[in-house]
Symmetry: C2
Subunit: 598 residues, 2 copies
């Protein structure tokens, strides 16, 4: 189908089936096997994918019974394998469904069933959830645009080769598209690799402030109630370009403060550190070069375990000299603002280290800029912030709220130690660790060498600094605090009603339409009940359900006298009949009231 | 990675590679084979998908040469098969790339290359394209919300079984996800089946006005310059619920008129017909019941071929009696408004037919309602409109513009007859036919029995009426008419500049930051150049590039005297230095100017 012909194409075959084909989804009397039997059966048949004939739909119950036996055998075999718990659950669900289908087919009485669900780890968003999400996106987008950002939209899938080799062990979480001939593709895993790919492809772009709010896909074990989804939104803002030191970095932080303030998610702090300071600190303390990354990832755990445990990990697991660990301990427990900076500036050893001196100078400049942007109070210079990712080359940050702290820390309960970190994937333990809090609501940093990896140009890639807002986390914070009743899923301002009765009264349907038309023409959001002769109650109920603030009421006699009532809904005085106004003044009067309440 | 920890996760391995791993993307001296050789090679290796080790990256050029030979052989074999043209092109492209890689690897001088592209049939959207698209979506969404619509967001993939069997021969165009264990899933093909699935899953929803603007996926042969993409947007609005006849139908048409008017795409007409009138007409004319659908699909071609050709198809190809065809001919060439309705109401044969009478009565009611909504002039009751899809049960419509007509009709040139329609897929020829115009910009109708096919409930599915706006088509119309220069990709109102010089001058970077901060706090979109000591020209150039209308200029001496300049950019008098205003009045003065120009 060409994209330019919008025609609900999807419905063509459903429609055809409907108009008397061999397949009936809802005719158990005619067909002893149910559609869902066939549907479930088809799950087990790899070749069924491309099969569009209908005879598969009428599998005899003998076949179903055979499948049930096979399924039971498979489940029996899996019982010995503890790692197969997930597959087991799936098989058991299938078994249940097959049994149900068979029962339905057997007695011929049950309604036929179609397996109705969304894929694991995904959900439909609707109603107030959708309204909250849209509000979050609008708020965030508004801030980004205030700073001159433009948006980029990339395809939901990329060539497999663009993604492969980028995510290490997590590569197994990438959704691949089936090889149906032609290119091999994968669903995007994040928005950063597509951005880097785009920058490399468009090397005439020398600088850009871009944002991208879009869904990404990870075939992880989902845990919906913990907000771990297989399809979820990311919201990235990045500044790419060769600029003077710390200027864009400061603006990214300013943007982060504006976003979190505008989202009104409560008190937050932005932890701030610099990779060069960390590197300088480790070198100064005497960490061997080859251990810097693994020691850094141990430091990164200070937000969920006490220093003693981190030190133990460094010394016992990672073989660091205890004296070195103690020197690190003196540093990483420091946090503050300009005071800490001054202390580091006075630290002769650190200043003698090239990396440490450069990082401290950057931080001094950054603090001046943050002060100019009036957000110095929102940040906490925190030497324990290491960020798990290797690619950062400069400033790093992470925004936390009350809810970000780990349950263990909040409850004062000593939780079991987290799983041992795998040195090759410093982030792995953070993801799977139950003792971790819900995590930061935003994080980011400077990464100057990432784009170069995609770039063909000799001058290398473009330096970048950016932040990723955890919109799913923000969503759950805001949703928790929002009373369902207080969020409207639609935005209608006026409900146009008719009151009347008697045989001659036609329900004023055309009159209501005309009134709506005038309101719409004036840009006013309006609705009416799709009933030709409505009673008052269902009209009020419909208006109330959507929380519509105003009603225009066409009373049978009043309207014929050129008058309508304008009533504010949801007021305490229910007996209030509204103000009687001239039909011709209707739009002006509505506007007046809406402006008043705005 | 948990969704609640936003951390640019994607970069972890890239970063690791960067910091000295075995793989180097940009080190031809060290590694005689290039990364792209390995990348291309991996395309041929099905098992490479899950391979995350790096040794695949250093394939010796002998292997590449073997691949080239194999590729040449495959191309040779395909030369005899004309249907393999597409595969051929792909192989040739791969061959070219392999040869290039080999050359690069051989001389050791060329930069290594990474295959940088987006998947076939997809594209990145950026800059003015993105700005135009956002404006279109905002316009459309604004209209939908004005009518009380709410939005629904469904996952980008559905269980394969939800989609399979819904699209007939077009099922081969569905993108399947690879079977990586667990459920089998497919990318959505349209937004209608997900909506029907959602309605069936949420059967407590008895009525809803929902819109959904989202991308859908079709593995069709892409033709980018004709706007045929594999990933493209659909924009659907539907009203589901049991209501009085024609009331929601009329509002959908009203919404369509509001959308097309608001989009300002030029003169448009909404062709309008009713499935029951068509059915009654065919029955009255004497079309045998089993031929009604195929004759209906012949009628549907009247927008791209003259009646004589359609008649020929009916009589010669479809075996219709010539007298019957002539009677149809009298009807289907009729179009008009109330006049045509009156003619049908006076048509005794049609009124004696149950379907014909019901359809005419519906149309009479609809016209009254369209008149109340003041859009009767926008529709053309057109008996030749049949719509290819079988599932419609009531009113059908299609919006056309000047650009919708087929090139043949516009040029008065007799084009070769379109490919023969396949009776089992009445839409097939419309998609592939070069003689068809760019098509309608919107289309839809009533489909009362679709949701029931997904529904388990005994009361059956919910009746629906809806419309799909062809946003890609609208986009191309608007883009054609838009001068690139007139669309701004960002929305910044004020560019904050500094003019000064001398050794002591620090470039006012913190002062510019403070001014920006004040503007942002006031909700004003503002930018400044990320240079510590900028010259005037690059600041003006940056402002001009984004079409920023105002500049605040901090002159070295003036600023120290508590004054700044506010200058309107893009004015003819380039010598204008702007108005000298007090530093403290800056925000107020900017607001004043912005309000004036708004």
């Amino acid at each position: 189908m060409p994209v330019s012909i919008p025609n609900h194409t999807g419905k063509v075959i459903l429609g055809r089936l409907l108009r008397g084909s061999a397949v009936s989804f809802r005719a158990p009397q005619l067909n002893p096997t149910s559609a869902s039997v066939a549907v479930v059966l088809r799950r087990f048949s790899a070749s069924a994918c491309s099969d569009t004939t209908s005879n598969k739909m009428s599998a005899p119950s003998e076949e179903v019974k055979a499948q049930i036996t096979a399924l039971k055998n498979e489940i029996g075999a899996l019982k010995k394998d503890p790692s197969a718990a997930d597959r087991m659950k799936e098989l058991q669900a299938q078994l249940k469904e097959l049994n149900l289908s068979l029962a339905g087919a057997g007695n011929g009485k049950k309604e036929t069933k179609f397996t109705l669900k969304v894929p694991k780890g995904t959900k439909d968003y609707f109603g107030t959830d959708m309204a909250i999400r849209e509000k979050i996106f609008n708020t965030i987008t508004g801030v980004f645009k205030r700073h001159g950002a433009v948006t980029l939209d990339t395809p939901v899938f990329e060539l497999k080769e663009i993604l492969s080799g980028k995510y290490g062990e997590d590569s197994k979480l990438i959704y691949d598209l089936q090889d149906q001939g032609g290119e091999l593709c994968s669903l995007r895993y994040d928005l950063t690799v597509p951005f880097a790919r785009w920058l490399a492809m468009n090397n005439t772009v020398t600088n850009i402030k871009r944002y991208h709010i879009a869904k990404v896909y990870r075939r992880d074990q989902p845990a919906m109630n913990k907000g771990r989804m297989r399809e979820f939104y990311q919201c990235d803002f990045d500044i790419a370009g060769q600029f003077d030191p710390m200027v864009p970095d400061a603006e990214v932080l300013r943007i982060l403060v504006e976003v979190l303030t505008a989202l009104d998610i409560g008190k937050f702090t932005i932890k701030l550190n610099h990779r060069k300071i960390l590197d300088g600190m480790f070198e100064t303390c005497g960490v061997p070069a080859e251990k810097i990354r693994t020691i850094s990832s141990a430091v990164d755990k200070l937000d969920k375990m006490p220093w003693e445990d981190v030190k133990k990990e460094m010394v016992q697991e990672k073989g660091l000299d205890e004296a070195v660990a103690d020197r690190i301990g003196e540093y990483v427990q420091l946090k503050g603002g300009r005071d800490l900076l001054e202390r580091l500036q006075a630290d002769e050893k650190l200043q003698a280290n090239k990396s440490g001196a450069a990082g401290t100078a950057d931080m001094a400049l950054l603090m001046d800029y943050l002060e100019a942007f009036d957000i110095l109070d929102n940040v906490s210079f925190d030497l324990s912030l290491a960020r798990g990712l290797d690619y950062y080359t400069g400033v790093i940050y992470e925004a936390v709220t009350e809810a970000s702290a780990p349950p263990a820390a909040k409850q004062g309960v000593k939780k079991p130690a987290p799983k041992k970190a795998q040195p090759t994937d410093p982030d792995a333990d953070r993801s799977d660790d139950d003792t971790v809090g819900v995590g930061s609501v935003a994080a980011g940093g400077r990464y100057d060498e990432l784009v170069g990896m995609f770039s063909n140009s000799k001058k290398g890639g473009i330096p970048c600094v950016g932040v990723s807002i955890g919109v799913e986390r923000v969503f759950s914070i805001i949703k928790q605090r929002t009373e369902a009743a207080s969020v409207r899923s639609n935005e209608v301002d006026v409900y146009v009603m008719a009151f009347g009765g008697g045989k001659d009264w036609d329900g004023f349907v055309k009159e209501r339409m005309r009134v709506c038309k005038e309101l719409w023409d004036a840009g006013i959001k309006a609705e009416f009940l799709y009933k030709a002769k409505p009673k008052p109650r269902p009209q009020f109920e419909a208006a109330e359900k959507s929380g519509v603030p105003l009603a225009i009421i066409l009373g049978q006699e009043e309207y014929n006298n050129g008058q309508v009532r304008l009533k504010e809904l949801g007021l305490k005085e229910e007996s209030d009949e509204g103000a009687l106004i001239q039909r011709g003044d209707l739009v002006a009067e509505v506007k007046k009231l809406l402006e008043k309440s705005a």
